[in-house]
């Protein structure tokens, strides 16, 4: 234990006593390293029959704290186990009354593979032959990583279902309608704890308990193929020291750090080979957000940190900043608690109770009066655009949701169209209908008139509606192949310059006229080549323009509805550097109903979602750390200040963190993201998120606390940078090297034998890393060998940079569920259709287990649901029972399904209702409900 002077966390009694009470058992002072466990603690504990004296009463607490009560921790990799190799384990297993996870649900199963809670209700397994021969396993995680890791000479990994071992695997698969039991275990026990002392059985039992207790169990990836379980998917819990264990940390959906425990020095971080960074979704729609209006917002005088739950109150008049450690004075009125209207207790203030909070900013936070909501729409009306027919859809959606666009009485809108020329629409007062003016000189664009091009929405609503009705007809018969995007942008900039706002561009072909004209660069015959060229912009026009916009608080959002190559790489620069967003609808045709539908949904969400204008975001971190690289759509104005002309609730950002000095003398570090924006009602607001993370000096702890999803989020962003700065194959290599490095580092950290051991021991926290990396390598952004249009690839890369983590994970590795469990659940629980409404959704739905995206999980008797984020696919097997088909889809056999079915048919049945509810639950966090596509087994 170090003594700490600067430490705000540590009260007057640092050291051992504190560590003892540190009751979730993750403090660095606990004897948590594997070594210590092996030797002393484990032995003592095994010998003792009751609670070991060295670890007093709170032993039961960490167990409860770490493991959800309804399932045994052992069940996390659950499923019915086949006979494990470790059957020789002595019965000491049952002598675990002191909090070591003696599974309550499972009984003394030798390898602790308790079935999941739902399983006991299942009927006995029916043997069935493998009806479906797995051809392509989408994720041969083990095999490929194995070869990549190169430690497998002579070892045959248990990889793709090779033809001879498929039957034996599938023998025990349950009948359709069974669920969960497909968790086949190969040979060894699923949880391989500290593999070096497998021989010492009694030890490993206790260790098993402890490592699980501290979230430090490991998995041998070579032995366990089915690792996608709730325990590996759940992000690691941030466990803080005593003083803060009640402070609610910022929600994981808003800020996630790649490591739930921060290594104390750069060298330790380097040893772990993990990236350090955070992914943040700052403007996320949240349900309950405390909003505070106060005269003076309490901030640190030195580093300007907002007061947050993790500061240290020296006394009732002073607080110590947790980022720079300066002691500040508290203003008098901070003693007043607005909720209870009492004086005296500073800890009751909402600022100190909630780590996500919004302040209504006083006038010091404004450089100018808050701007009104300003929306300008730019429509491409060249012949290609007209052929796609997007204008009709866009105008009708716009017309319908005109009133729902965020804004107050000052809201202004404007419309421009452009082909070879730019068309303006003047909606001046006193006009019966909009006037069109056409600008012919696109090389030197100017505004034809100073006013009434942007009009007040409230006052001119009729004219606007009229215009939106006329626009599609106006250009229906155009034959102009030109698209003067650059000129249109320039005049749009001139229009918006005075106030700032949002420019929405609909582009459907390559801009080929006037400033910013581009040439087609893609070679269509070379789409599957190994070397992908032209990932970088062709000109600096759009970047320059975006920077200029950013200076005037204008954001440009791009909807690319292209029919052919449109150089997304170059055009998207206009959004990238101005804080906008990019949407892509390749090959949009108004005749394809599903495209129209998904565009409608997306555009509706775009129009009606919240928006923040003239925003800036600053990320502050504890002294010793600094932000190294930013990822996302914005312009970095100064070292830690992001300029975001617009901020929307669907934008995510990533930051890589580096060390300035080591953190040896602190116990926790904090990140604080503060987003200052003007909301659509013209109110200046500050949204502050604070996250606090413990610091550790132990390498295994660092690795066990890794958050694989956040790591993937950050790695994918870094890989996009690498692909553009260098080339795609470099990025792909970097992915593989990063994975190898991490697992080698873990080997070293755990003192595992090096060389060819036939094992690939992974901490549970990183078990899914190879899987996700493989998914990334097959993602349109990074794949090679498969024909990928350049625009699609560039858009996928953009999405990697800008999607918030939850959506990004679905985009990288879609969720696959077997619907049978749902049907089974509905039929076995007596829920009638009538009582639905009163119940909580979750009570009606069984817990659905995610499946790996491997063909071995597919079978012809079941229906599967794959959730890709913006698309939900239902895969209907050939031999699905008729009653299920009828109940869900209203058809009698799979063959009746047409080739392209979109949308769920309206069937009134309990099963269909459950499916809809399940989809609702899946869509709960999504910006807009995705399209449902039904495909049948060929």
């Amino acid at each position: 234990m170090q003594s700490m002077n600067l430490n705000p966390i540590n009260g007057p009694n640092p050291g051992q006593s504190l560590a003892r009470r540190d009751y979730r058992g993750v403090a660095s002072s606990q004897p948590s390293s594997a070594q210590q466990l092996q030797t002393s603690a484990a032995n003592t504990l095994l010998a003792a029959s009751g609670p070991a004296p060295s670890l007093p009463n709170p032993m039961a607490v960490p167990f409860n704290a770490n493991v959800p009560s309804n399932k045994s921790p052992a069940s996390v990799f659950g499923g019915v186990a086949t006979a494990p190799k470790l059957v020789t384990r002595p019965p000491t297993e049952q002598k675990l009354p002191y909090g070591v996870p003696a599974p309550t649900a499972a009984g003394p199963e030798p390898n602790n593979n308790a079935p999941r809670a739902v399983q006991p209700t299942m009927p006995p397994t029916a043997q069935r032959p493998p009806l479906w021969q797995p051809g392509v396993a989408a994720m041969p995680a083990n095999s490929i990583m194995q070869s990549a890791l190169g430690n497998s000479q002579g070892f045959m990994p248990p990889p793709l279902p090779a033809s001879q071992n498929v039957p034996s695997q599938q023998q025990q698969l349950p009948a359709p309608g069974m669920f969960g039991a497909q968790q086949q275990q190969h040979g060894n026990a699923p949880l391989q704890y500290q593999a070096q002392n497998v021989q010492q059985q009694p030890l490993s039992v206790a260790q098993q308990g402890f490592s699980r207790l501290w979230g430090q169990d490991t998995i041998d990836l070579m032995q366990n193929r089915h690792i996608l379980s709730p325990a590996t998917i759940a992000p690691p819990k941030v466990v803080l020291h005593n003083q803060f264990h009640e402070s609610i940390n910022c929600s994981g959906s808003i800020i996630r750090c790649t490591l739930a425990k921060i290594p104390e020095s750069n060298s330790l971080l380097q040893k772990s080979r993990l990236p350090l960074g955070i992914v943040i979704h700052p403007f996320r729609d949240v349900n309950s957000l405390p909003v505070i209006q106060c005269v003076n917002i309490v901030r640190c005088r030195l580093c300007r940190t907002y007061i947050n739950p993790f500061v240290y109150f020296v006394d009732s008049k002073m607080w110590k900043c947790n980022l720079c450690y300066r002691v500040n004075e508290l203003p008098e009125d901070f003693q007043f608690d607005p909720a209870t209207k009492t004086y005296g207790d500073v800890t009751r203030r909402p600022e100190v109770r909630s780590s996500t909070i919004e302040f209504i900013a006083p006038s010091e936070y404004m450089l100018r009066p808050p701007q009104p909501a300003m929306y300008l729409f730019l429509f491409d009306v060249s012949i290609i655009a007209q052929q796609s027919g997007y204008l009709e859809t866009a105008c009708s959606v716009l017309n319908r949701h005109l009133d729902e666009m965020p804004g107050d009485a000052r809201t202004q809108v404007g419309f421009l169209c452009y082909d070879s020329f730019v068309h303006f629409y003047s909606m001046a007062e006193g006009l019966n209908q909009p006037h069109e003016m056409t600008l012919l000189d696109i090389d030197d664009p100017f505004l034809p008139r100073p006013d009434s091009l942007l009009v007040n929405l409230k006052e001119c609503k009729e004219l606007v509606r009229d215009l939106l009705k006329q626009l599609p007809k106006r250009f229906a018969h155009t034959h102009d192949p030109g698209s003067a995007l650059g000129a249109a942008l320039q005049v749009a900039f001139k229009l918006m310059q005075a106030s700032g706002g949002r420019i929405t561009v609909f582009q459907s072909c390559l801009p080929n006229k006037g400033p910013g004209a581009l040439e087609a660069r893609e070679d269509p015959n070379n789409r599957s080549a190994k070397d992908v060229a032209h990932l970088n912009p062709a000109t600096d026009f759009y970047k320059r323009f975006a920077l200029e916009c950013s200076g005037y608080q204008i954001a440009v959002d791009l909807f690319l509805m292209n029919q052919q190559y449109s150089d997304m790489a170059t055009i998207s620069g206009v959004s990238k550097h101005s804080g906008g967003c990019v949407h892509h609808f390749p090959l949009f045709q108004k005749t394809k109903q599903h495209m129209v539908d998904s565009f409608k949904q997306c555009f509706k969400r775009y129009l009606t979602r919240k928006i923040g204008f003239e925003a800036v975001m600053r990320l502050r971190c504890t002294r010793g750390l600094q932000v190294h690289t930013f990822h996302g759509n914005f312009f970095v104005r100064s070292t830690d200040l992001l300029s975001l002309p617009n901020v929307n609730p669907d934008a995510g950002y990533g930051m890589q963190i580096s060390y300035e000095e080591s953190l040896t003398d602190v116990k926790t570090i904090c990140f604080q993201a503060a987003l200052l924006y003007t909301n659509s009602e013209g109110e200046r607001r500050i949204r502050v998120h604070t996250i606090c993370l413990p610091v550790t000096a132990s390498l295994p702890e660092v690795m066990h606390s890794a958050d694989s999803e956040a790591i993937i989020g950050l790695l994918s962003k870094m890989a996009v940078d690498r692909s553009t700065a260098s080339n795609l194959s470099d990025a792909r290599d970097a992915f593989i090297n990063a994975t190898i490095d991490v697992f080698n580092a873990f080997k070293i950290a755990q003192n595992l034998p090096s060389g060819q051991s036939g094992q690939l021991i992974a901490p549970r926290s990183l078990a899914l890393l190879p899987l996700y990396i493989l998914a990334l390598l097959k993602h349109p952004a990074f794949r090679v060998g498969t024909s990928t249009r350049l625009d699609d690839r560039v858009f996928a890369m953009d999405s990697m940079k800008t999607l918030p983590l939850d959506q990004l994970m679905k985009y990288i590795y879609p969720e696959l569920y077997k619907i049978d469990a749902l049907v089974y659940h509905v039929r076995n629980s007596n829920i009638s259709l009538t009582q639905d409404e009163d119940y909580d959704d979750d009570e009606l739905l069984p817990e659905m287990q995610r499946l790996q995206l491997s063909a071995e999980h597919l079978d012809s008797r079941s229906i599967f649901l794959m959730d890709c984020g913006t698309l939900i696919m239902l895969y209907v097997g050939l031999n699905v029972p008729t009653d299920v088909l009828e109940a869900l889809l209203g058809i009698r056999s799979t063959a009746e399904l047409p080739d392209y079915v979109y949308g769920l048919p309206n069937v009134v049945s309990a099963e269909s209702d459950a499916l809809k509810r399940f989809m609702l639950r899946l869509n709960y966090d999504k910006p807009y409900p995705p399209l449902v596509q039904i495909i049948r087994q060929a």
């Binding site: 970088n536 912009p537 000109t539 600096d540 970047k543 920077l547 170059t570 312009f635 970095v636 100064s638």
Partner: protein, 157 residues
């Protein structure tokens, strides 16, 4: 061989002096940016303005030294000219200059730029004295001291 040796080294020395002053300006501007006294766009605009003149000076200097046959000095100057050329050439097509406001705050680029400036400063500082030495030795080449045939120094009285 078009210019007398002393003139060549005079020009060399003046060039070095100018570049040194420019580099000090660079360092100050970058330091301003680091301390947030200057915004990235303004800073990069100022710095990029001088990138071409700097490279031009260096290239012309190299050419002059080559033409005048000062091989050693030419070889000493060549690496810097090549590096500056490379720096100009490696920019991407959408780059707004060697100093790009979009990138300058990420990937530690600001630190890299500052470090580069320091290296340039060191280089030109050393080169300045090399130039000074050359100038002095060129000035001294015509023996200013009057001698007899047998190297006997005439002291004048």
């Amino acid at each position: 061989m078009f210019l007398p040796e002393t003139a060549v080294f005079c020009i060399t020395l003046l060039t070095y002096g100018a570049i040194l002053l420019l580099l000090i300006y660079y360092v100050l501007t970058l330091a301003d940016l680091e301390c947030d006294y200057l915004n990235a766009q303004e800073c990069c605009r100022r710095l990029n303005f001088w990138v071409i003149p700097k490279f031009g000076c260096q290239a012309l200097l190299c050419a002059m030294l080559l033409i005048c046959g000062h091989w050693v000095m030419f070889l000493l100057n060549l690496p810097m000219a090549v590096w500056l050329f490379y720096e100009l050439q490696r920019q991407r097509r959408d780059s707004l200059g060697v100093y790009d406001p979009v990138d300058i705050h990420s990937r530690g680029l600001l630190k890299v730029h500052l470090r580069n400036c320091m290296i340039y400063l060191g280089y030109y500082f050393v080169m300045f004295f090399v130039g000074l030495y050359c100038l002095i030795s060129a000035l001294l080449k015509g023996d200013p001291i009057k001698r007899h045939e047998d190297d006997e120094i005439i002291t004048g009285f």
